[in-house]
Structures are given as C-alpha cells and as structure tokens.
C-alpha cells in the first residue's frame, strides 16, 4: 500500500457509492443503446433523408420545343438556348463599379438594377430575361455573389415577316399564342423531366439513382410551305401593294395535285422576332380568316354547273343583247355590251349578263350543290385556328336576283384559301382536294364535284381568258400555258356596295396541260388608278407562277413565243360588277 502515493487513494468510501456510480453508468449506456437502436433501426427515415440530402440531388432535365420547318427542311421556327440572369437580393454583394458593369452588360439602367435588388426579403428577381449565351458568360465573369443564370429557350423565326402569319408566335414562356404555334401546341411542346442523382464534393454527378420523370422533347412539325415559293409570293405581293397603293393583300399557292399549301402570304405583315406589342391588324392571317365577295372568279362555277347539267356546251351562244338584264327591280349590266357570245367568251370577257343568264337557266339547287361541293360555306379544315367558313345561304331562300348575282360572285363570301381550293376541281379531274398546311406523305382522295370532262372544258376556257380578248392577258407566262379568271368586286360597306372601293383578284393554274400550281391573289383597295383584277392581280400571278415553276423544275409545256399581248392601242377588256338597283345587295 506504500506505493499508493496519492492521498486520495488512501481514502475509504462506502461500497454503495461505487455501485451507484456503476449503476448510473450502465443506465446511461442502456439509454444510449436504446436511442441508437431507435434512430438506426426503428425510426430511421428522418436521418436517412438528412444523410441523402448531403449527396443526392434532383436535377431537371430540360426539354425544348419542337422545330417548325418547311417541306424541304428549312427552319421556320427554332428554339435556342438563352440565359436569363436572376439575383437573390439577400446574397447580392456588388460595389458601385461592379454594378455599373453589370448594368451595362444587361442593358439596364444602374439605378433600375439597384432598385430591383434592394428588396432583400425576396429570394428571386429576374434582372434580365433571355440573353444570348455569350453575353451571359460575360456576366458570370464578373463573379458577383448572388447573381445566377437560368437556362431558358427562346423561339427564333429566321424567315421573319415572310411567313409570320402561318407560323404565328409564342409568348416569352414559349407557349403558342397564334397561328400554327397555337394550333399544334400539344405536338410542339416539350415536357421537362427530372432525375435523382448523387453528387460528389466537387458537384460532379457520380451516380444515377432513379429517373423521376422522363423528359419528353417537343416533336418537330414539317409544313407544306415551300420557303422559296413563299418568299417569291411575299415579294411579288409586296411589290404589287406598293405599286397600286393598296390597303392589304393576300396570296395563296396550292399544289394542284395534293392540295398542300405551298405558300400563303399576307400584307401588312409583322416581324415575329421583335417582342413588342403586335398590332392585330398586322398579325391576322387574312388569307384564312378574312372573308370577301369574290366577284367574277366564281363565274366558272356557274358555267361548270350548267355544263355538267347538260344545259349548255362550250360553243352555245348566249344572247347578252345590250348588256343589260333586268330581274325584278334590279338591273345587271356589262361594261362592254357584247351581243351574242359563246359560253367560252362569257368566261373570257367576264360577262355578268351571260353568267347570270346561264345561272338563271339552272335550278337553284344545282348551282348551290356545286358551290357547296366546291367547299364554299364550309370551313376548309386546314388546321389553322380561326379559319373562316364563308357564307353560302341555303338555296331555298334564294331569290332569282340572288341566284343571278351569285353566278358572278356577289351575295356569297369566301376566304382566299377557299377560293384557291375551289379551283382544284378544275385543275384535276373534277375532284375537290382537302387542303393542308402540313406536308403530306400519302396521296389524298378528293371528293368529286364535276365530271373530268367538264373540268377539262373549263380549264380550256380559263386559258382563253388570259389570251388577248380575255380579261387577263397580263397573267400569261413565257413558256407555260396558264389559265385563270380575274375578279373585280365592289367592297361591301355597311351592307351597301361602295362606289370606289374594290377588291381585285385573280385565281389561276399552271401549266394548263397538267396543272401543278393553283395561285389565288387578292388585293384589297388598290388606289393608284387601276383596280381591275386583270391589271392589278394578274401580274402578281404571272411573276409568282413563272418563278415558282422554274424553282420546281416543271418542264415547259409551250414554246417560248407563247405570250400574245393585245396591241398597245387595243381597249382593255374591263370587267365590272355593278348593280343598278341595290336590291341584289346581300343582307343578313
């Protein structure tokens, strides 16, 4: 016991004290073990979760909106990555110099920037949305705490205003707002996914744990539009509008074999890439939405109905007399009385009296049936939102004067697309083709409207109408046989026909030997002196058709000496629709 140097060890305590201490230690141990078992085994969710949150992360997998391309794969709308710069005001630390440089990069005023990050209670403020990636990289280089980037996609339209009416636009969050962007929102939209991963201390992903949601990329949309033809159509329409100081205009180019829309342009137009407010007057797809009274471009339908019914033959002589026809209290008149003319000449010279006489000889139902089978009065179902159906009243309510005026396109309203589509019955073998704005991969079946023989006869009449002696010699194209019909209609204003406001139009096809294209041109209120369809709209047709046929490498079907223009001093074959008494004006 000597070795026990410490005096403490020499003390003697009662034995219960050491027992008590041992007991307490043991209890403590049991308590700890129980707690450990509880945490590790029985109720381990919470801790597991805490542990996981140290290394596992849920990451978003972005999905972009599908592209829209033309029929040859040229991009019309592409989503590309841009960076949005945002800040967390609580963490934002920047001296005056840094703030100034950041403001310059973001193209905002320094004061505005300071104001935005002033409210430290907020956790997220956008400083600038949708910067190009190289700009965003420079923002990162400034290395300001509390400033972050967020990847977003922005829609770009390389063709700009040329095709903006068809494509439409999206809003800043890439949701379709107009046009095909709206109509095919469900196809185009991409659904972002997410997955759980394990990250190491450097922030690298080292393991895929699970996929939470599989991302769905937006599907691409291939349109029937041919950008080359679209551009041509837009350019020529624009030139014509400027030349004739017209208010608006539209052009539709259809593939005569498939009913695909190869081009559809409207003016005035807008640039879909600018984010400013767009005037609805400019953004409307007039060719599809707006309705107008087509005028003489409907005369071939009255003739086709009569030919099909066996009432007339191309050479049948119609007596137009002095060019006036009185029905009830109204009088229909021709600008140039022609006397006795054949049915062919009724079309070529665009005689109102002739067309009215042919129409009046038919039962109303026959005429109505052909109009209806040609797609008038029904929605063309091109898939475009808001397309117009036009107005074709039931034949039981027709009065004789209305039947007469309808034969030359008054008292009936159509959209430009409907008008172009209706001519498919003459371009093919008498079938009305369905139209589409999407590229077709399978052949289509039309619905029969007239016999193939009648279609051929009318086609030849349409060719006569662009020859000297017809109303549209300016539509002729070197090297190709073309056919078409002019139209000049007074505009309706408050239910009455305005005396000096016109809609000039031309609908035609080429080459006549085997039609490939149908082109419909409409020019609203030309006000530079000329207003006849043959003078205003036919030249647009000529320019577009000649360039488009060359673009499509369609073989010539006529010698290059085929264009026969009337002598310079020959009177222009005018056409005009004028109803002496307003009885015929469509109402209701």
């Amino acid at each position: 016991m000597k070795s026990l140097a410490s005096p403490v060890l020499r003390l003697h305590f009662p034995i219960w004290r050491s027992r008590l201490l041992l007991g307490i230690l043991m209890l403590w141990l049991v308590g700890l073990t129980a707690r450990a078992v509880y945490l590790q085994g029985l109720n381990n969710d919470f801790l597991q979760q805490k542990g996981e949150s140290r290394y596992s992360r849920v990451v978003e997998i972005g999905a972009h909106r599908g592209r829209i391309t033309d029929r040859n794969g040229e991009p019309l709308a592409i989503s590309t990555a841009v960076e949005s710069v945002w800040a967390s005001p609580g963490d934002f630390r920047a001296d005056a110099e840094q703030t100034k440089r950041l403001a310059r990069l973001l193209k905002v005023e320094p004061d505005e920037l300071t104001r935005r990050v002033a409210d430290t209670r907020r956790e997220f403020v956008y400083l600038r949305r949708q910067l190009p990636p190289e700009h965003a990289a420079r923002v990162v280089e400034l290395n300001i705490p509390g400033v972050f980037l967020q990847r977003e996609y922005r829609r770009f339209y390389p063709a700009g205003e040329v095709v903006s009416h068809v494509i439409g636009i999206t809003d800043i969050d890439e949701k379709g707002q107009e046009g095909l962007e709206l109509a095919f929102q469900d196809t185009l939209v991409g659904k972002p996914g997410s997955r759980r991963v394990i990250k190491d201390r450097l922030g690298r992903i080292v393991e895929d744990v699970e996929s939470i949601r599989v991302p769905q990329q937006g599907r691409d949309l291939t349109l029937s539009i041919d950008l080359r033809i679209q551009y041509l159509a837009y350019r020529e329409l624009k030139a014509a509008l400027e030349q004739h100081r017209a208010k608006a205009g539209g052009i539709v180019v259809l593939d005569a074999r498939t009913g695909e829309v190869l081009a559809m342009a409207n003016l005035p137009s807008y640039n879909p890439n600018s984010r400013g407010r767009i005037d609805p007057q400019r953004s409307r797809n007039r060719a599809l939405v707006d309705l107008f009274e087509p005028g003489s471009t409907l005369k071939p339908f009255a003739v086709a109905a009569a030919l099909d019914a066996g009432r007339i033959r191309p050479q049948t002589v119609i007596q137009t007399g002095t060019g006036r026809l009185t029905i009830g209290r109204a009088t229909i008149s021709d600008v140039h009385p022609a006397g006795a003319i054949t049915v062919e000449e009724v079309i070529a010279k665009s005689s109102n009296v002739g067309a009215a006489k042919i129409a009046l000889d038919l039962p109303a139902e026959t005429l109505w049936t052909l109009f209806s089978r040609s797609g008038f009065g029904t929605v063309p179902q091109s898939g475009f939102p808001g397309e117009g159906s036009g107005r074709l009243r039931a034949h039981r309510t027709w009065k004789p004067i209305e039947q007469a005026t309808m034969s030359y396109g008054h008292g009936i309203s159509v959209s430009l697309l409907q008008l172009a589509r209706s001519y498919t019955i003459f371009a093919g073998n008498g079938e009305l083709l369905p139209v589409t704005l999407l590229k077709r991969t399978e052949p289509v079946a039309g619905t029969p409207a007239i016999t193939p023989r009648t279609a051929l006869v009318v086609r030849n009449m349409l060719e006569m109408a662009v020859h000297p002696g017809g109303t549209g010699p300016k539509a002729q194209v070197v090297g190709y046989r073309v056919g078409g019909k002019t139209g000049t209609a007074h505009k309706l204003e408050n239910g009455r026909y305005a005396a000096s406001r016109y809609v000039s139009s031309f609908v035609g096809m080429a080459p006549v030997s085997d039609p490939r294209l149908i082109v419909a041109v409409m020019i609203d209120e030309p006000s530079a002196g000329q207003h006849y369809g043959g003078a205003v709209a036919a030249p647009v047709f000529r320019e577009v058709v000649s360039a488009a046929l060359r673009t499509l490498s369609v073989p010539l079907d006529a010698p290059t000496m085929n264009v026969k223009l009337p002598p310079a001093d020959a009177p222009v074959i005018r056409e005009e629709v004028w109803i002496a008494h307003d009885e015929a004006g469509p109402r209701g």
Binding site: I78, A81, I205, E207, V478, P559
Partner: protein
C-alpha cells in the same frame, strides 16, 4: 484452422478492395459520361444557333440582293433556255 482463417481474411480484404476500386472506376466513367452528355447538349444548342445563323445568312432576299447587285447575275430569259428531253432537244427554241 488459423491458417484457413487467415487465407479467408486475405480474400475478404482483396474483395473489399476490389469493390472499392471498381466502384471508384464506375464513378469515374460515369463522370466522363455525364461530361459527354453535357457536351452533347452544348453541341445541340450550338447546332441550333448555327442553323439559325445559316438560314439568316441564306435568306432568299439577301442572296438575291447580292446576286443582282454584287455579282451582276440575273434570271435567265426563257428564250435562251434550251430544254432537253429524253427524245432529244425539245420543241422549245
């Protein structure tokens, strides 16, 4: 018996080390894969931008303007076109 145990222990240690190495290897490969994926995404974005650029440079209007004003080109007049068909020169003069 002790010998056998020692051998088993050695094998167990070897297996454990193997697991660690292969796990590490797998992670390294996965990091590389992730990097390539990010790269692919970046390239995709770049592709979109280049496509945009290409179609902007190739705008019909721009090409036409340059062709006409700088290169003095114009569309061939149809009377200077000779069409060849399978049967020989066509009827177009």
């Amino acid at each position: 018996m002790a010998k056998l145990n020692a051998v088993l222990l050695l094998i167990a240690i070897a297996c454990a080390l193997g697991t660690v190495t292969s796990q590490h290897h797998a992670r390294k490969l996965f990091v590389a894969l992730e990097k390539e994926r990010a790269n692919a995404k970046q390239l995709e974005i770049e592709f979109g931008q280049l496509q945009l650029e290409a179609s902007t440079w190739g705008m019909q209007g721009r090409v036409e303007k340059i062709a006409v004003s700088q290169l003095n080109m114009r569309a061939l007049a149809p009377n200077r076109v000779q069409v060849l068909t399978a049967q020989g020169p066509g009827d177009v003069k």
